[in-house]
Assembly symmetry: C2
Homo-oligomer: 205 residues x 2
DNA sequence: AAGATAACTGGACCTATGGTTCAGTTAATA
DNA sequence: TATTAACTGAACCATAGGTCCAGTTATCTT
């Protein structure tokens, strides 16, 4: 029921949009080069050329900032999964869709260095109480639903919900993440494939 | 090359040993009842009836304290795995040993509430640089070696090392951990069994 | 175009917490 | 009982997330 695009525009002033981008890009750059615990909000603000208050005004908290960064990255994959060509998109058998999905996720994680670790770090060091845990993150929810659905399709006898959590959680493991940062995402994808194919092929016992 | 037990005793004065226990038990109790971020070192010290400096003198850092707590818990399982009766101990086929191992680990984690999360939290919030990451923890190394060996035994064609990291990492997932805290460790164990049996039954493709 | 309005900005300030220091205390040894 | 080395704990420090608010500025209204 909004009048037009100008009303939309009014939501964010031109200078605010500029600073928003500057902050996001600065955070991205710093996180690419340093471990999360060395990237304080203040440092991000300085690199973006704004005050610390601005960052908190726009993003609410450190966690909010990192979350925004993750959303940016995850949107593309989300679309490919929902409506792209098989095996990632609809049409292929569930086992192959899962294998493709995890390969894609691994590649995404590898391309984005410390982002996952940064999110973990941000959630854990957030002092404002209202911080949502990782599993409430829209992207996580969406991925989890996708994986759960595919598992259930191929293996109606297992606890798909739980196993989906387990498989997705792997990305947050430090030993896994460090290899990801080193670019070895194909190795992770291969192991995902072994696990998933084994699971989907198995029967009630 | 030590002379006798008394020399051993000299390493820790009677009052120190008492306080050491008091600190450990206080931390344990607090972690059972509150999430890790609400259990500051100072609060532990107060509950144990000692000063904060004492805690740091004995354990080096927050992470050191939690690590000690974890070691206490893990020792028993480690022994059962190395020399206990099958299927946990030697003698059973690798797939069954893995299933038994993960069931045991899940039960251990469930019994100890927030300990795993606390360790994660401690490592991440530690400000002293020298903190070892989780995968350098002796217990983790030992578990990882065990799992790697069993996987390799049954499936020489997969990346056992990597998959072992993935399977062990599951315990640190927040959605998994929260269910664990709620006592649902059998559900986790069942899913572990599904994954492991599928993996171990599968062949090269 | 000018005034009104609401949003944006940024730096001073607050607070929590992990960690350090060191002078005094006390258990073990000879 | 004297000596010594370890233990203790309270005051202190540094850092980083988060809050505040007075001044600024884009956008809307008339």
């Amino acid at each position: 029921m909004r009048k037009n695009d100008r009303m939309e525009e009014r939501r964010e002033r031109a200078d605010a949009a500029r600073n928003r981008q500057a902050i996001l890009r600065a955070a991205e750059e710093l996180l690419r080069r340093y471990p999360p615990e060395q990237v304080s909000v203040e440092r991000v603000a300085a690199a973006a050329g704004v005050g610390k208050g601005t960052v908190f005004h726009r993003f609410g908290s450190r966690a909010g900032l990192v979350r925004e960064l993750m959303n940016e990255r995850a949107r593309e994959l989300e679309r490919a999964v929902a409506e792209g060509p098989p095996p990632l998109g609809p049409g292929a058998p569930p086992a192959e869709r899962l294998v493709a999905f995890f390969a894609e996720v691994a590649a995404l994680a590898a391309r984005n260095g410390n982002l996952l670790a940064a999110h973990e770090h941000a959630v854990l060091t957030s002092r404002s109480a209202g911080e949502q845990p990782r599993e409430a993150h829209p992207t996580y929810v969406s991925w989890h639903r996708h994986v759960t659905g595919l598992i259930a399709e191929g293996r109606p006898d297992v606890d798909a919900d739980q196993i989906a959590h387990m498989l997705l959680g792997v990305l947050h493991m430090e030993p896994v993440a460090s290899r990801l940062r080193a670019g070895e995402h194909e190795r992770l994808a291969a192991s995902y494939a072994d696990l998933v194919r084994g699971l989907m092929a198995g029967s009630g016992s």
